[in-house]
């Protein structure tokens, strides 16, 4: 499809935007009152398109996406469940959508109360003591948590702890975060059944250990059964435990990280709490801590006095805070959605989330196993997700997990996460989520069986898939080699001159 630049014509203007209220003289006078040497010499070459063109362009373009609202999207580790439209509406509430973040507290009580209650609710579901809502995504939540661990050790003048331990299967943000906090990363292996290799852990911990980051259920889609033991081992050497809450959906209402011994954690509201992913973001990654780490939580947080008056907690109230992580106070719009979601579900609804996310994953796993697909951890329960491997298929027919994934798109289903975690070869991480129906899961199994038949009979077909998407398989190597990261001006300026437009 053409870009919006290719639809631009110089001098075109057709909408009702812009200020439009100043006379030419007023404009000129205002511009003249500004320092001339600082003014822009050339205009910004933005598209000049009509409002109709813009609406049509981005409407058509949107249809080149798969999305939860249009497709089953069992992308492992991403919890692509239904994003309630009611929660979206809540975030758009007039008075909130136009709330300036630095408005006086007396003009902000309703929003502050809502944030306060969200803090309390997240503390309850995680079993932690206090919550800060400011991190704007999971990775920033991780940063906050690890920085808090660091601040804790520093506050005790315990400067030798320079290592963070991370299981090999951890999400990439875990080691990347540890490094941002100035730590060395020490990976420990996972054993054949998907649990942490306890001996390796024992060998790794020591006086240098600042802490351990892990998620439970792990990215292998299994529950780490030795979690209590792990906590003990790390705590014994004076380390702290970080919980990556991206997988909380699996255990929501079934088990709480606080009870497992974790000291600090983040949550992905854009996963467990059903706020939409927006094609990459925004999310929200609140961080929760137990009594030991609570004093270090990032600011601002919301406090409440005896008169039910709500206010911002700042450095003054929390002198040990690691400080501020965003210009203002995080992604309020995302937080409002999560608040609405929690209000709707209530205690019982939230408990069902974990229950049915787990039921769906185990059902799908059982069906796929019976259909002959290879499970990474066949003797374990699935949690909210599970891993299958196409190693056999790759060996027999040369068809990779990626080929299967691309072919799945032709059936209107988004591919599961491929090649993650890295330790399982040719794998898919499949997360159906609790909001998908049994029919949808059954349909998925049928399609997969059909694709495997295709793989056997005509491997070349899968290599060339997909066929029905808006583009066929994309050459990623060429992209990296050519590095065309913006549209060259010459291209669209040329387009303007040709009178006969090329087809869509």
């Amino acid at each position: 499809m053409k870009t919006i630049f290719e639809k631009s014509r110089s001098g075109r203007r057709a909408g009702a935007q812009g200020a439009g209220s100043l006379s030419k003289t007023e404009s000129k006078n205002t511009v003249n009152s500004l320092p001339a040497h600082l003014l822009r010499k050339d205009p910004v070459l933005l598209p000049e398109a009509s409002e109709l063109q813009v609406v049509r362009h981005y409407t058509q373009l949107s249809r080149r996406n798969f999305s939860i609202d249009t497709n089953f999207y069992p992308l492992g580790s991403c919890t692509m469940k239904y994003n309630p439209r009611g929660a979206h509406r809540a975030a758009m509430t007039s008075g909130w959508v136009d709330w300036h973040p630095l408005s006086p507290e007396e003009s902000s009580q309703g929003a502050l109360q809502t944030l306060f209650e969200l803090q309390e609710a997240l503390a309850e579901v995680t079993g932690m003591q206090a919550v800060s809502l400011t991190p704007m995504a999971g990775a920033q939540g991780e940063f906050a948590g690890v920085a808090m661990i660091r601040a804790y050790h520093e506050s005790r003048n315990d400067h030798q702890r320079q290592e963070i331990i991370v299981p090999a299967a951890a999400h990439g943000t875990n080691p990347a975060t540890a490094v941002m906090c100035g730590y060395k990363v020490r990976e420990i292996p996972i054993n054949a059944s998907g649990d942490v290799d306890i001996d390796a852990l024992r060998a790794a911990v020591g006086p240098n250990t600042a802490g351990l980051m892990m998620t439970n259920p792990s990215t292998c889609g299994v529950f780490e059964r030795q979690v209590a033991e792990i906590a003990q081992i790390v705590h014994e050497v004076g380390g702290l435990l970080y919980y990556d809450g991206a997988n909380l959906n699996a255990i929501l209402g079934q088990a709480r990280p606080g009870d497992m011994g974790f000291d600090v954690l983040h949550l992905n509201l854009h996963k467990t709490f059903a706020t939409p992913h927006g094609g990459g973001g925004p999310g929200a990654g609140p961080v929760a801590a137990n009594h030991r780490l609570a004093p270090f939580l990032p600011i601002p947080r919301v406090g409440c006095d005896n008169n039910k008056s709500y206010f911002w907690l700042t450095e003054k109230d929390a002198p040990q805070t690691i400080g501020r992580l965003s210009t203002f106070q995080g992604n309020f719009g995302v937080l409002a959605r999560a608040f609405a979601y929690i209000q709707i579900l209530g205690s019982e609804g939230l408990r069902q989330v974990g229950e049915f996310a787990t039921l769906n994953a185990n059902y799908l796993m059982a069906r796929l196993e019976k259909a002959g697909f290879q499970l990474a951890f066949p003797n374990r329960r699935a949690t909210h997700e599970f891993i299958i491997s196409f190693e056999q298929e790759e060996k027999k027919w040369g068809v990779t997990a990626m080929d299967f994934a691309k072919r799945l798109l032709d059936f209107g289903i988004h591919a599961p996460t491929t090649y993650f975690p890295l330790l399982v070869p040719e794998c898919w991480l499949i997360e159906p989520t609790e909001t998908e129906s049994k029919e949808e899961l059954d349909h998925f199994v049928e399609i997969l069986i059909q694709i495997r038949q295709e793989a056997e009979q005509d491997a070349a077909l899968l290599k060339k898939a997909p066929f029905t998407t808006s583009v066929r398989r994309v050459d990623e190597v060429k992209a990296a080699r050519e590095m065309i990261l913006t549209q060259p001006l010459a291209e669209w300026m040329l387009g303007e001159l040709s009178s006969v437009p090329s087809p869509n």
Partner: protein
Amino acid sequence: MPFIIPSFFKESYMSYIPHTTHEIEQMLEEIGVSSTEDLFDEIPNSLRCDHFNLGAGLNEYQVLRLCGERAKPQQNKLNFIGAGAYEHSIPAAVWDVVGRGEWMTAYTPYQAEASQGTLQLIFEFQTMITQLTGMEVANASLYDGATALAEAVLMAVRSSKQGKRRILIPKSVHPHYREVVRVMTQWQGITLEDIDWDPITGQITNDLKAAPEDALALVLPFPNAFGVLEEVHQWVDWAHDQNLMVIAVVNPMALALFEAPGHWGKTGADIVVGEGQPMGCPLSGGGPYFGFMCTRKSLVRHLPGRIVGRSHDLEGKVAYTLTLQAREQHIRRSKATSNICTNQGLAVSAATVFMSLLGNAGLREIAIASANNARALVAQLQPLGIKPRFTAPYFYEVALQIPSQSEKTAIELSHAVTAQGVHAGLCLETWSKELDDCWLTAVTETKSAEDINTYVRAVENIMHLDRDPQAAIPLSALASCVGITT
């Protein structure tokens, strides 16, 4: 086999879970367990939790009503606070289009063939934002302006061949940005060196001679935190003379009118970051907004975050894909350029539609109208003895000094005006004790002549009330002119 069906089924249905009892039975049978309880048998009993203390669920209508009730007292404020987040008009088409499920409920475009919409949009965004900043390449967004600046500092450090780690950062950079930079870089042995602002002009002090030996980069705000325009050409030339990189931190709205950082001085800024909020994001209590980051092509491999590149599909058709992923955490893990994963995609989509709708002419008009409105307010406040605190030129935000004759402090006055539904500005005392008699006030194109009038009358009224409580305009009359329902 008898199945144990969770008890809620007849009672509750509001968790968006589609299962019927019949289906649950079928599924349990297929799995070979007799209840969902069994599915959790790998979790040690001691760790199981069986309920939350969060009360019962409410239906959607009740929740929306609850939010509506809470938000009601926050409605219809006449807002003149900026300080990093600006109330600009947002065309209705922006969120109507961006609110489509296909944009809103898609994930990061890892499967290129199923994500051409998001990918092409980001490619278009990258093109637009580089046009605006005068730079060569851009990423697909960072969390917000402050974290973008922190990431820029980290990027500069990464790119330094000599391993320099000292950054010059003026105090005229938004204090929250400086705080975030400190928090995000402190564990990596980076030194942040403050530069003062001139108490008369409000600009970076001009007595800087040579930069320290080990200094790596200069951060250059435009406009600065007080709305003041820095002498960017001069500073870029100075910095490059000193072998310093330049990290510009800009309000994108200013770039419709003022020179693009890529063209500052003789050689242009090296990294440009900023807060994207003014272009299509509602104030929304501080987020979601988005940070943008642009740089030279030669530095592209040091960029954090996602980047979209153009390629072809196997039929030779133009197609887009995430590229240079070997910088990112999911590939490079501990060696990644940043830990960022989820970014602020939807806000970027809004900004892209926003820029397409406005174009150069529209952005320029908004910038000019805002500058004009700010000057109109300043002119009308003059008779009350309120005037700009600094002498250097400003764009559409200005530090206003409250005359000391007033009985009330700037803060007290501000609260009194707030009580009338007008947010007159941010009290600068929170940023700097020296500015405790100042408000930082932004006036955008959204303000009409009447709004400006309302502001002036509200302040005037409070000042009069101070001196002569009898003479004041009745509050109710004022409230009605502010447009508050009484």
